[in-house]
Amino acid sequence: MTTLDIPPSAAPPLASVTEVLAIAGRRLRRLRRNPGRLVGITLNPLITMVALGYLFSSAIQIPGSTNYIEFIFAGVVMQGALAAVGPTAIAVALDVQGGLVDRFRSLPISRSAVLIGHVIADLLISMIGLVVVVAFGLLFGWRPHNGVLPTLAGFGLVVVFTFTVLWVGVLLGMAMSNLETIESVGGLVAVVFSFLSTGFLSVDKLPGWIQPIAQWNPVSSVISACRDLWGNGAPTGTGFPAENPSLVILVSLGLLFLVTSVLSVRRYRNA
């Protein structure tokens, strides 16, 4: 036999950085060949910003906020983050269907590296989208008012939020096989979670039955926190979620991340 025998090795740590970077790098190369992906996640929030902030701004009055663009900007940004759920799910599902996941699973690499690689790549892609959205926001009159650190903290929260919802996309991609279903579910997530929130209207302006949904929607809490950090004058509202935004954010995002990542990796192992 000409092949040398390899000494047994210990299992590697959770996910080797090299492996994660290799997978993420691959996704970014794909993006370069097929940049359509960026259009989706930037167009979605931009359309909302233009439609609401530019066309309807005179028709919508928000008490306690003079500038409607500033009021909706945090919601627009979260919509951009949510818009990445569908594309991430499709990227993962394509890997499963194309047999690439089988190939990766036959390699001696960490069981979570591939999925983490997807999330890291999509996070970077979303950040590119975020830069575009911020640029347009500034153009339309959005301004942060609280200085550098709180502004950056707000964007930090956006990154954490995006990271968490991307895992929802990964789970969708691992759990569903029909690409069209994934696409519609992804689109629904982006629209429902952003519009059934306090992102575009204050709670009291929403129809009665939506008010509790919007209040308890964690996306609302993240949006309020960002508005607060950017000094975009938010009406705070009442009720438990409005009074304990940090707690709601911590618990909901933490739980969401835990559940989606654990389920995704388990599905990957047994795919």
Binding site: I6, A22, R30, G99, L100, D102, R103, R105, L107
Partner: protein
């Protein structure tokens, strides 16, 4: 005897389908096992279990000396898998696909690029190496898929229907590649529906159907199991079949079978070489013009048909 793959009583049930009902296999290091079977026989399931992609419900399987359930990581370090569909990234170039695998296998940037270049050269893909795989032909894609399995220098290769959908030239070239790998010491388990492929490549053949082994042996052993050699005579004019049967019948073990449309007469001769000579003489004396006169041995198609009870698909 040094075994690269040892399987006993392997079972796997999906929901209600019993895909594997206790399969035994053993493959010597450096040899080729052909796993043959009709659609749904359980070939892919067996390969997936051996490649650690699914956990079997019962039985034992060792690959390269390690148990696939207890030490999957050690198995993965020693195997290459080419699934039923080429698992390559269409948007990446061939080279990028190979470099990606090299990086995943911790060869480092330079090491991964060097290995990619070696494999592109070996698989005749240098010219196409920097084109997106989406532009490759089916044959090139298969070659890249096979190259992808080799990045980590595996000892055991699993090929699930490696030539399905390839034209004869591409198939032949892939066969040569596999033979080359085996000459270098590789152990190969390949599944196929092409009997010709198993005949050409495999040292041992295992035929499975409905999750069970129904025959195994070398290609020659299997052919022998199905039956003896027979004489096949094609008469030049189909209306002479009856005349041919009349003179040949006395030389045959039992009544010759005929295909009047093709003008074929088939018979098992009573006594070997003498029988052949006697048959030729008898035909000439009777004035039957012969278009083809040959001793035939059963092909693996006959084996398959005989065992599975219907024509193989594929």
């Amino acid at each position: 005897m040094d075994l690269a793959i040892e399987v006993t009583g392997l079972r796997k049930t999906y929901d209600k389908t019993e895909a594997l009902r206790g399969i035994d296999l053993s493959v010597r290091t450096g040899s080729v096992l052909g796993l043959l079977g009709p659609n749904g026989a359980g070939k892919t399931t067996a390969v997936r279990a051996l490649a650690t992609l699914l956990v079997p419900d019962g039985g034992q399987a060792k690959v390269a000396g390690f148990d696939v359930v207890a030490q999957p990581r050690e198995v993965r370090r020693r195997i290459g898998l080419a699934g039923q569909n080429a698992a390559v990234d269409e948007l990446l170039t061939g080279r990028e696909n190979l470099v990606l695998l090299g990086r995943l296998l911790h060869l480092g940037g330079a090491g991964a690029r060097r290995r990619a270049q070696e494999l592109l050269e070996r698989f005749d893909l240098v010219a196409a190496g920097d084109r997106p795989v989406g532009t490759y032909s089916g044959g090139m894609r298969r070659r890249l898929d096979l190259a992808s399995c080799l990045v980590g220098h595996p000892q055991v290769l699993f090929l699930d229907e490696p030539t399905t959908g390839l034209d004869p030239a591409s198939r032949q070239s892939l066969w040569n590649t596999v033979r080359g790998l085996v000459a270098d010491g590789m152990t190969v388990l390949l599944t196929t529906q092409y009997l010709e492929e198993a005949d050409y490549l495999a040292d041992q053949i295992v035929v499975i159907a409905a999750g069970q082994v129904i025959a195994d042996g070398t290609p020659d052993e299997l052919k022998r199991k199905v039956g003896q050699e027979w004489l096949e005579v094609a008469v030049a004019l189909p209306d002479r079949v009856a005349a041919a049967v009349a003179v040949l019948a006395p030389l045959a073990v039992d009544e010759p079978s005929t295909d009047p449309v093709k003008g074929l007469v088939k018979l098992q001769l009573r006594d070997g070489m003498d029988g052949i000579a006697a048959a030729a003489v008898a035909l000439r004396d009777a004035g039957v013009d012969v278009a083809d006169f040959a001793l035939r041995r059963p092909t693996l198609d006959d084996v398959f048909f005989n065992l599975v009870g219907r024509q193989p698909q594929g």
